[in-house]
Amino acid sequence: MADVPMDVASEALLPVRGGSRLLQRPSGRERRRARVNRLARVVAGLAAIITIAPLLAIIGYVVARGLPTLTMQFLQNPAANPDDPGALNAIAGSLQMVPLALVFSGSLGLLAGIYLAEFARPAVAQAFGFIVDVLLGVPSIIAGLLVYSTLVAAVGSSAFAGSVALAVVMFPVVVRTTEEVLRLVPGSLREASLALGIPVWRTVLSVVLRTARAGILTALMLAFARGFGETAPLLFTARGSDALNVGDLGSTMSALPLFVYQNSRLPSKFFVSEAWSAAIVLLAIVLLINVVVRGRSINARVD
């Protein structure tokens, strides 16, 4: 019968003579092991719950605090609007500076990642990789200071300087992720391509990058999310601006994180509440990108 339970079946199969050792009562040792096992499971489970608690708390708290002022006017008016100030200046600023920063860091970072994964000797790749890791760990305010002391000192505060500062922060993310996804492309594909008489540069373009394109897109999206959430690089560079600035990269410009920071310091309940509303928008966009990337990365692996 197909439905015979496992234990019955095995009893039928194994001849049990008098006292099979398998049927003896569990020893004290075995019982203690079972208890410890249960306890460890519970503790590990609790730890897992605790790790996701902060995320849920952040989302819940931010939404609760920011929802009242999250209106259509909030999304449609710049902060400079005297009747009904909103955050359009910040939303528009983020959507200009971050893509521009992605153009800078993405183009340069992709090339650097390709160099590290495909062309550098192992020792060089390791040394460069280490430097990139250090760069990845540099506090983002230092990136802001760097751009402040060079670009801003020369030409003044501007959205362009803000983009450059963001690019400095995003660059190592692109390099590292690109390098990693390119290393996942099996060497056998490079060999197959080279053996067809396809030159190295073309092998990299039409075989390696093409195979890893999903991963490359992931690298760019992760960098975008990173830049989107950064405040510190913009503090001394783009500075922020209450007026809506579209297209004037030579002037100051706001961004969502900057808006949150600056509004939260204003002596008005309304403006502080607007900071929370901006935080909702920021959180939603960054989480969305992260969810899309993580969801993709399951399919993004190279087979």
């Binding site: 192992p122 080279l194 053996a195 067809l196 008489g197 396809i198 030159p199 039409s206 093409r210 394109r213």
Partner: protein
């Protein structure tokens, strides 16, 4: 009796024949010598098998023939290898050009996963400047037919190459390799990852292809060497761990009456 093929001189007059000659070839990985002093003349338009125990350098030697050995860090070749009497390591000869004339099929089928069946076959040809849709279609169909795969894939050319079975993937790789119209085809243990039926199909294919290509197959499988090859080269490893050529002869002769003790022991299964 089939008459013995014409010598390389006669062939040269009639255009390329895929005549391959190795003269005193050594292959190195940095300072380590993996292949020592191999000289042999491969019969054009025939199947030659390279056999020998693991580590005897037969794959390394194979990779010197299409200049793939140098793609490995520290890979270096000494000696002379000529294809239709032209030294492929001569200064000024691009490795890519050699590789288009000497195709290669690897141990594990390696179609490009990001490309369709069609694009896989067309990948090498596109580089040669063939980009007109119609021309590509002709090349792809011809190559797939030659690789005995056309009937199985003609209705799904737009599907990824990796959607095929292992044996089909390997024939796809053969189609991809012959699409660039090489003179010589190198196969590095092409059946070791395949089941017996797929193996048999590849072997039949090799017998059919040898009228157009000079084929060299590295194999661990002595029966396979016996079944598909016209000539066999037996390699083994010396005390310095460098592989060297022990005996090179018509396959039947090598298997039935080897002149070297080592060959006899190997084909009788006493070592390796």
């Amino acid at each position: 009796m089939i008459p013995v093929m014409d010598g390389p001189a006669a062939g040269a007059a009639a255009g390329p024949t895929g005549a391959l000659r190795l003269e005193g070839v050594h292959a190195f990985y940095r300072s380590f010598r993996a292949v020592r002093d191999v000289s042999l003349s491969v019969r054009p338009r025939a199947v030659t098998a390279f056999i020998g125990p693991s580590g005897c350098g037969k794959s390394t030697l194979l990779r010197t023939i299409n200049r793939m050995h140098e793609t490995i860090e520290g890979g270096r070749v000494e000696g002379r290898i000529t294809v239709d009497d032209v030294d492929i390591y001569r200064k000024g000869i691009e490795a890519t050009r050699v590789r288009r004339m000497v195709g290669m099929v690897f141990q594990k089928p390696n179609p490009f996963p990001s490309m369709t069946i069609f694009d896989n076959v067309a990948s090498g040809v596109r580089l040669g400047g063939v980009n007109r849709r119609h021309d590509l279609e002709l090349v792809v169909e011809h190559s797939l037919r030659r690789a005995a795969l056309w009937d199985e894939v003609k209705d799904k050319l737009r599907e990824p190459g990796t959607s095929l079975s292992g044996g089909q993937q390997q024939r796809l790789c053969i189609a991809r390799a012959i699409a660039t119209e090489p003179e010589i085809l190198l196969l590095d243990e092409p059946c070791s990852a395949l089941d017996p039926i797929s193996t048999q199909r590849i072997e039949e294919l090799l017998r059919a292809l040898r009228t157009d290509y000079t084929i060299i197959i590295v194999t661990h499988n002595l029966q396979q060497a016996g079944r598909v090859s016209d000539e066999t080269a037996f390699f083994t490893m010396g005390e310095d761990r460098a592989g060297y050529l022990v005996e090179f002869a018509a396959t039947e002769r090598l298997f039935t009456s080897p002149t070297q003790r080592l060959t006899a022991e190997y084909v009788e299964g006493r070592f390796g």
